[in-house]
């Protein structure tokens, strides 16, 4: 099934076409979401939301980008929205914890260990993911798309709707920021 046929079928709410779309992109979407939200269950939820959004908004897809680019863009945006929502909840949790007798923060997520990292790198990857979580949105997006999905700078530029030069700059700054954060971590 070529891309145009797939889009047409999706616009007609064709179930087989939707199943085909989910099968084709679920792995990439899930891995992107996992990189952002750093928790398997939450990544699963974001993945579901991404495909629901695709299903609901395919009629408005202008085809000014490839379907894969559009799906990736939705995945990035949904992941960032999820992080924003979680941060808001965390802020509320800080207030609730003030009234908690245990005098410690509840809702504190554990350190994230990506299941796809090779065994000898597990510990370092955990530290790296902690640092990635501190990056500004655009740097984080560019870095994760490159590292997790192996996207080229051209593809990242299409997903983020930026020029390739801007993406290169984001990647350079992301690496510099991460290095600084990691040096601080190891010096502590």
């Amino acid at each position: 099934m070529n891309e145009n046929d797939l889009i047409t079928a999706l616009r007609h709410n064709n179930e087989n076409a939707f199943r085909f779309l989910v099968d084709r992109y679920q792995k990439s979407v899930f891995n992107i979401a996992l990189g952002f939200v750093q928790q398997k269950e939450n990544a699963e939820e974001v993945t579901q939301e991404v495909f629901i959004k695709v299903f609901e908004t395919i009629a408005g897809f202008k085809q000014d980008a490839k379907l894969s680019t559009w799906v990736y863009r939705i995945a990035v945006n949904q992941s960032l929205d999820f992080i924003r929502h979680t941060k808001r909840k965390k802020r509320f949790a800080i207030i609730t914890s003030m009234f908690n007798k245990a005098d410690e923060l509840i809702h504190q997520p554990p350190d994230f260990c990506h299941p796809g990292v090779v065994l000898e790198n597990k510990e370092q990857a955990t530290v790296l993911f902690k640092a990635i979580a501190q990056l500004p949105q655009s740097q984080k997006t560019a870095f994760l798309l490159q590292k997790i999905d192996g996207c080229s700078q051209q593809k990242i530029a299409a997903i983020m709707q930026l020029t390739e030069g801007a993406v290169e700059s984001h990647l350079f700054r992301a690496k510099a920021t991460l290095k600084k954060l990691l040096i601080n971590y190891y010096q502590a």
Binding site: K27, N31, E44, F55, A125, V127, K147
Partner: protein
């Protein structure tokens, strides 16, 4: 406390720790779960629409009820004959009371 060179090396190694990252498969039956979520969402939207329609109907009934009550109250008021003013104004405007053509 590590020296600067050692720290730099560790940071560099950590930065490259995501190389050769393997992609993970999501849980099975993702499509079925998405489908059921879409169905639930549609159901919720239908219920929400129904609730909105009931609310609108209730408001309209209230308005109608208030109008009927007001009309009846006006009818019962002493010395009032609803519509008589309008009739008089209409007759006056079009000179219906003047016997102009009566020779």
């Amino acid at each position: 406390m590590k020296n600067a060179k050692e720290t730099e090396r560790l940071a560099e190694e950590t930065l490259n720790s995501l190389d050769n990252l393997q992609t993970i498969e999501p849980e099975p039956f993702l499509f079925t779960r998405i489908q059921s979520r879409i169905a639930r969402k549609n159901e919720a939207a239908i219920i929400q629409n129904r609730v909105s329609m009931y609310r609108l109907a209730a408001v309209l009934i209230c308005i109608l009820f208030i109008n009927i009550i007001s009309y009846q109250a006006a009818l019962k008021a002493p010395g009032s004959k609803p519509g008589s003013d309008v009739k008089a104004a209409f007759a006056n405007e079009y000179h219906l009371e003047d016997n102009f053509y009566a020779y």
